[in-house]
């Protein structure tokens, strides 16, 4: 009986030890901040690039506001696509 009890307490300790490192991984703050910073800039950068392309094309073709507006919306779409993709990539890792 005594032996069995010892084994059960040991098992409990071992189980607790298994659970501990998992908790640590879940609450890795630094990695989450990195992800947040990454996604937010991705959304903005695409909009900026899209609008810039539209503006340059507008100057080339003399269609002043039209292409800027079109490419602005395409930039927004590209930004959302980028965010979507990197979120998907994060999901794949875990």
């Amino acid at each position: 009986m005594k032996n069995l009890r010892e084994i059960s307490t040991r098992l409990e300790i071992a189980r607790k030890n298994i659970k501990k490192p998992q908790k640590k991984n879940n609450s890795s703050n630094a990695a989450s901040i990195g992800k947040a910073l990454k996604i937010s800039t991705e959304l903005v950068a695409s909009v900026v690039v899209g609008s810039t392309i539209g503006f340059i094309l507008d100057n080339g073709f003399d269609t002043k506001p039209l292409l800027t507006i079109c490419f602005f919306f395409m930039g927004v779409a590209a930004g959302i696509l980028n965010v979507f993709r990197s979120a998907k990539r994060m999901n794949k890792k875990f």
């Binding site: 950068a45 695409s46 690039v49 899209g50 395409m74 590209a78 930004g79 696509l81």
Partner: protein
């Protein structure tokens, strides 16, 4: 002057002015701090690998840890085929990390808080990855812009969106690093200015804030170097293993 939070980002030349064919190639404080961080990296790696003890000394431990950190990162995100690009990514990571960290020292200059430097780094990555993609896959690399399973009617729109998303890579890569470093250092300086202007009576609260912010900035300095390197790995992965 001392209270101006943007004063710390000023670039001024050290020593004589050098003009080469209309280009101003003078040695500035930015070049000085880039040189300092390069020398620090080189000396760390030199002294870390000099003795090769079985039980590593502290400096050898740091060197080996940085090596395994980057090697693991490349293996996990870009696969084993990207192993030949280890020197490039290691250099990039260490350079950005040391520039950020040297910038955290008092009276120093943060090189990475200037967009021209981060943009050049990002542009090197962008051009390099594009060239690698075309060399490895030829014109098939353009398939990156054509996702599978898209109706033909939508293709013109999708291709333009994909190209914009591809072109936004260097912009997001450079703006992220530059904006984080610049915002953090400006904030530190603003809180430091509060400490001085509020004096002995009210200066303790902003002092506590700036101590906390210094810790946060060190975290951000490391994180931004990490994010820069890991995104380079992800882009390399896209170029080496073509599948979406």
């Amino acid at each position: 002057m001392a209270l101006n939070p943007m004063h710390q980002f000023e670039v001024y030349k050290i020593g004589p002015e050098i003009n080469l064919g209309g280009l101003n190639l003078s040695f500035t404080n930015a070049s000085l701090f880039m040189t300092i961080s390069s020398i620090l990296i080189l000396s760390l790696l030199f002294f870390g690998t000099k003795k090769k003890l079985l039980v590593p000394s502290k400096i050898q431990l740091i060197t080996e840890m940085s090596y395994t950190f980057v090697a693991k990162m490349i293996n996990e995100t870009a696969g084993s085929s990207a192993k030949s690009f280890f020197p490039f990514i290691f250099t990039l990571f260490m350079f950005v990390l040391f520039c950020n960290m040297v910038g955290m020292l008092p009276y120093s200059f943060t090189v990475t808080s200037h967009i021209i430097i981060t943009f050049i780094l990002a542009a090197i990555v962008f051009v390099g990855v594009t060239v690698i993609g075309f060399v490895k896959h030829g014109l098939k690399y353009l398939e990156l812009f054509v996702p599978k399973g898209v109706p033909v009617v939508l293709l013109p729109l999708i291709i333009v969106i994909e190209i914009i998303s591809y072109l936004s890579r260097p912009v997001s890569l450079s703006v992220r690093l530059f904006a984080n470093m610049m915002a953090g250092h400006t904030m530190l300086k603003v809180f430091g200015g509060f400490v001085i202007s509020l004096g002995l009576l009210g200066g303790w609260l902003p002092l506590g804030f700036s101590v906390a912010l210094t810790g946060l900035e060190i975290l951000v300095a490391f994180l931004q170097a990490y994010v820069f390197a890991i995104l380079t790995c992800i882009y390399l992965n896209d170029a080496l293993n073509l599948h979406h």
